[in-house]
């Protein structure tokens, strides 16, 4: 049940992810350019359709991020290995950013298309609720000082939040629905499909980089906390091993 401290090896291993920090933005620029060049203006929406190349990949990847939170939280509760907790926290932060981006872009797109900034439709509303659930998750982490408690509690909140996503969605869908069928390569015209796929991959790379980078920082912060504990508990103030 004792929490395992991250080692130097796990931190150095994650340095390999640094190369993603160069590749991911390049792929994103390429995929956006490809999407803009190859897609004709939409019959109804015109060039407004281009917003899909960020909005839809951001939404998909936000769900991937929350899935990681769910799995990492479960694994933490079973193993009590704090690396799973740090991974869940990193994925929750990146997921919250992508969800906020999805909502904002959707709003910008909705104003000219539907004539309103916001509509109480199932997908919009449940995405907003999802964002609030994970804002709560991050707030709980920020307000809990004890790392062991923080890990156990946020794992519980992460699991409960993920369990609730389908129920929230179903309940709001019964309540009312207006959103068009969500865009995927099978529902959009072939002229848009590849642009969408490429951008989804680009955002996935970006998400992986954000999570990996945030995870790496979290590992270092935890290592510093462990080191401080050791210094505090050692007579004479010298750590046994730094």
């Amino acid at each position: 049940m004792t929490a395992r401290a991250p080692t130097v090896a796990t931190i150095t291993a994650s340095q390999r992810w640094r190369v993603l920090g160069i590749i991911a933005p390049l792929v994103l620029i390429g995929a956006q350019t490809f999407g803009f060049m190859t897609s004709p203006p939409d019959r109804d929406m015109g060039d407004l359709q281009k917003i899909m190349y960020v909005h839809v990949p951001a939404a998909w990847n936000a769900f991937i991020a929350y899935f990681i939170v769910f799995v990492a939280s479960l694994r933490y509760l079973f193993t009590k290995d704090e690396r799973h907790d740090l991974l869940a926290a990193s994925a929750a932060e990146a997921g919250a950013v992508l969800t906020a981006l999805t909502l904002m872009l959707g709003s910008i797109w909705g104003r000219p298309t539907w004539g309103v900034w916001w509509t109480w439709d199932a997908r919009l509303t449940s995405t907003a609720v999802l964002l609030m659930i994970f804002v709560g998750y991050l707030a709980l982490r920020a307000f809990t000082d004890d790392p062991d408690r923080r890990a156990r509690w946020s794992a519980a909140v992460g699991i409960f939040g993920a369990l609730n996503v389908p129920i929230v969605y179903m309940s709001v869908r019964w309540w009312r629905t207006l959103h068009q069928v969500q865009s995927s390569p099978s529902t959009v015209d072939p002229a848009y499909a590849w642009g969408l796929r490429l951008n989804a991959i680009a955002v996935l790379l970006l998400l992986s980089y954000f999570i990996a980078r945030r995870y790496q920082i979290a590992l270092m912060e935890r290592r510093l906390e462990h080191w401080r504990d050791e210094v505090a508990l050692t007579p004479g103030g010298e750590p046994v091993h730094a």
């Binding site: 709560g136 156990r152 509690w153 519980a156 369990l163 129920i167 179903m170 309940s171």
Partner: protein, 226 residues
């Protein structure tokens, strides 16, 4: 099973006794519920038709706002007296403590509702429909879902910094299905259920309650270790 039930009822009886002896708290919570109904009435205006349409939603919001205070107190009285550690030292499973607190909170919130609902009926000009047993089922199931998550999240939130803001922040987004199902179900039944959709909302409440009751009983031992 009977040993478990003894422990569950012992925890519930302890919490209810504490609640009964500090009568001021439950009176204050109930008054806040009634006050919420009153100020929402001011916000909406005196038009009878508008008040009737909004009644179900506002009633549930007032229950939510006042109920949140009940959950805090459930753990605050343990923390103030340093009683939580002692409670955890007693033999028995952690989930029994949760079930006991859940039962006590359920009684308290239902008691608050028993006073707040008649107030809502009067203030919002609502007449009790013939389908009142279904309405009662919506109220009890909605309350059970609310209290389950409230008792669970308060176990964490009441032991953090800025707990006052954290509990509603964690709890209210999670309660969206309960709020929707309870509000829509009550509103449908109050208008005589013309579309026959109250049954669907009742089923949603049952599903929600079962999932989160089981999840809370399983996960509680991970969040309560002192």
């Amino acid at each position: 099973m009977s040993a478990a039930w003894t422990r569950v009822s012992a925890v519930a009886a302890k919490d209810l006794t504490a609640e009964r002896r500090a009568k001021a708290n439950i009176v204050a919570v109930t008054s806040l519920g009634a006050l919420t109904l009153l100020v929402f009435g001011f916000a909406i205006g005196p038009d009878v038709a508008t008040l009737r349409t909004a009644a179900a939603g506002i009633l549930w919001l007032s229950v939510l706002f006042s109920g949140v205070l009940v959950f805090h107190r459930s753990y605050q009285i343990e923390l103030d007296g340093g009683a939580l550690e002692t409670l955890l030292l007693y033999p028995g499973e952690r989930w029994e403590i949760f079930a006991g607190k859940l039962l006590a909170n359920l009684c308290v919130v239902l008691l608050v509702e028993a006073i707040v609902i008649p107030v809502a009926l009067v203030l919002y000009h609502v007449t009790v429909p013939d389908t009142w047993p279904s309405l009662l089922a919506v109220i009890v199931l909605g309350t059970l879902g609310f209290v389950t998550l409230g008792t669970f999240y308060a176990a964490m939130a009441s032991r953090t910094r800025s707990k006052e803001v954290l509990l509603p922040l964690l709890l209210f987004p999670m309660l969206v299905p309960v709020l929707l199902a309870a509000t829509e179900g009550s509103a449908a039944l109050l208008s005589g259920d013309p579309m026959g959709d109250a049954g669907a909302w009742l089923r949603l409440l049952v599903v929600f309650d079962v999932i989160f009751l089981l999840a809370a009983l399983f996960v509680f031992e991970h969040i309560i270790e002192a």
